[in-house]
């Protein structure tokens, strides 16, 4: 037998993975591990390398360099074993548009030598929501229903590791919450989940996350640890004229960073600069209704801070 390592707690491991396409370096020496039963989030903008990484791990493309294993199998030597034990939901809807909901599910079950009945308990909570439309062609489903069908098809063979590439992109905030609820339930059934997303607010729903940009990870840790590592005091500033506030904050050399965040501007200040001084300066510039309060950073604050300095 080849170098199987099924007793290990590691579901996915990557060591020094690189990938380039013509002039673009999609992944640069990427290394990380995912433990069995974890929800691991890969969070970053379009073009960061998320899809390339997923395609390497699901054995659809080859890396230029480095090693990777999924469920103990090597992505090159044991690619057939990997294909049997992973579920993959690509970012683009990839089911058969001219087959019905039920036919699609039946098809994927058959390809993996199983039946809908055998693993029905795994998909039940998700599938019951689209079952009333089981005779409808997949191409005629709404976005939300397509997403549920795709997830059902990716699960029907009871995979050990589930790869979800941007399952919530373009999905409204209510449906996004619902989708994450489904993932929590799958985790309870012991499935390891790798999920990518451009939405930073989904980070807190993962056990661990990797923030990725330009083909490499800025950091990999639990959301709590990443936030704890922000390392400086963050303030939320507000005034009646938010547009002018941003401009005035930017022109103040004592303000280290300033980014609009919803109804306030998140700022960091030079160490010896007091918020009282800032308040006076803003008043002098004609601002009214000024409030400057301390806040806890979010993952998006951390992402921006890390992508500025570029430290790993």
């Amino acid at each position: 037998m080849t170098n199987q390592n099924n007793i290990s707690d590691i579901a996915v491991s990557c060591a020094g993975i690189s990938k380039h396409y013509k002039k673009v370096q999609a992944l640069k020496n990427v290394s990380f591990e995912v433990s069995k039963g974890e929800i691991f989030g890969i969070i970053g903008p379009d073009g960061a390398g998320k899809t390339s990484l997923f395609r390497i791990l699901t054995t659809l493309i080859l890396a230029d360099n480095g090693n990777a294993t999924v469920n103990g199998f090597d992505v090159v030597k044991n690619y057939k074993n990997i294909r049997e034990c992973v579920g993959y939901m690509p970012g683009k809807f990839s089911l058969y548009q001219d087959l019905t909901v039920e036919e699609n599910l039946e098809f994927f079950a058959t390809v993996f030598n199983t039946s809908i009945a055998e693993n029905y308990d795994l998909i039940k909570d998700i599938y019951v929501q689209i079952e009333p439309f089981k005779t409808r062609r997949a191409g005629k489903l709404s976005g939300g229903m397509k997403q549920k069908l795709a997830l059902s098809c990716a699960l029907i063979h009871k995979p050990a590791v589930l790869f979800l590439d941007e399952p919530t992109t373009g999905v409204d905030p209510v449906s996004r919450k619902e989708f994450w609820g489904m993932l929590k339930n799958l985790k309870k059934q012991g499935i390891t989940i790798l999920v990518s997303t451009p939405y930073m607010d989904e980070a807190s729903l993962c056990d661990r996350i990797g923030l990725i940009q330009n083909g490499s990870f800025l950091t990999i840790d639990t959301p709590e640890e990443i936030i704890a590592g922000f390392g400086q005091q963050l303030w939320a500033a507000h005034s009646k004229n938010m547009n002018k506030l941003l401009t005035d904050l930017r022109s103040n050399i004592q303000v280290k960073s300033s980014f609009a965040f919803g109804d306030s501007v998140h700022i960091t200040l030079n160490e010896d600069y007091k918020t009282e001084e800032l308040r006076h300066e803003l008043e002098a510039k004609g601002h009214t209704g000024i409030s400057i309060r301390t806040i806890k950073p979010g993952i998006e604050d951390c992402f921006m801070e890390l992508s500025k300095t570029g430290v790993r």
Binding site: K23, P45, S142, G143, G144, D172, V174, M200, G262
Partner: protein, 254 residues
């Protein structure tokens, strides 16, 4: 008072009971609202609430089943071609031609909107300077980083100085810094008098709008400034407002 503050009282978009039915399905159900000149108007709603259908009617691309509407002063029933000439449009999906150069894209769209060669040339130079894009002028759009593409796509959508620009999820998938820079461009456009009609799934971006409407099952369930909506729904942020309203949806789509 001669404030620089935007919304003057000129109405750029007016709808009255605007409705679109597909067979028995009412996608947009008697929506009535007005948008002022220079305003940033956020058009929110869950997937399937009817946003895209409403937007297509406002852009002159789809005939309303009933109800009235004017955009940039033109009737969307009777003058859809005039509507199209006086608006700009940008979405995350369709933006620019990848296999044309930066300047070629600008010239193409400027030409389509009937700008003269001279006008296009002058404004292209001005735009390249302002965006610090001079070095990219002769490059194919597909070779640009995503953030650049996004900026360029927006600049092209308002290149012919439309009265109103429709932005359909313009910041989807963009990194957080670029997303914020993009909103700074939106502010600039609005300050110059262009009305901005924007959809987004980022609830922090809803806070950047002057006013926001939230569609549920084809109807406008709420319309006010973010501050007033938060107060009315007793929510800490716009996500809280959105979750309360969108959960009322009865349509089978989620």
């Amino acid at each position: 008072m001669t404030e620089i503050i935007k919304p003057s009282l000129e109405k750029v978009i007016v709808t009255e009971n605007l409705t679109k039915k597909f067979g028995h399905f009412t996608a947009v159900d008697h929506i009535s609202f007005e948008v002022n000149r220079g305003e940033i108007f956020g058009f929110l709603g869950a997937n399937g609430a009817g946003k895209t259908t409403a937007m297509r009617m406002l852009c002159g691309l789809s005939k309303p089943t009933s109800g009235e509407g004017t955009v940039a002063g033109f009737d969307i029933h009777k003058q859809p071609e005039m509507v199209k000439k006086n608006i700009g449009y940008m979405s995350q999906k369709f933006s620019l031609y990848d296999d044309l150069k930066v300047w070629e894209n600008i010239e193409l769209f400027g030409g389509i909107y009937g700008m003269t060669d001279n006008e296009i040339k002058l404004k292209t130079d001005e735009l390249m300077g302002r965006l610090n894009f001079e070095s990219e002028r002769d490059n194919l759009v597909k070779s640009l980083p995503l953030g650049f593409k996004q900026k360029l796509a927006f600049s092209v959508s308002i290149f012919h100085t439309p009265k109103v620009v429709f932005l359909d999820e313009p910041t989807g998938g963009v990194d957080p810094i670029t997303r914020r820079k993009f909103w700074e461009m939106i502010y600039e456009a609005a300050a110059s008098g262009i009305t901005v009609f924007v959809t987004t799934h980022y609830m922090d971006e809803a806070e950047y709008c002057d006013r926001v409407s939230i569609m549920v099952d084809g109807r406008i369930e709420a319309l006010d400034s973010p501050a007033n909506l938060k107060e009315q729904y007793n929510a800490r942020n716009m996500d809280g407002v959105f979750q309360q309203l969108a959960r009322k949806a009865k349509r089978v789509d989620s």
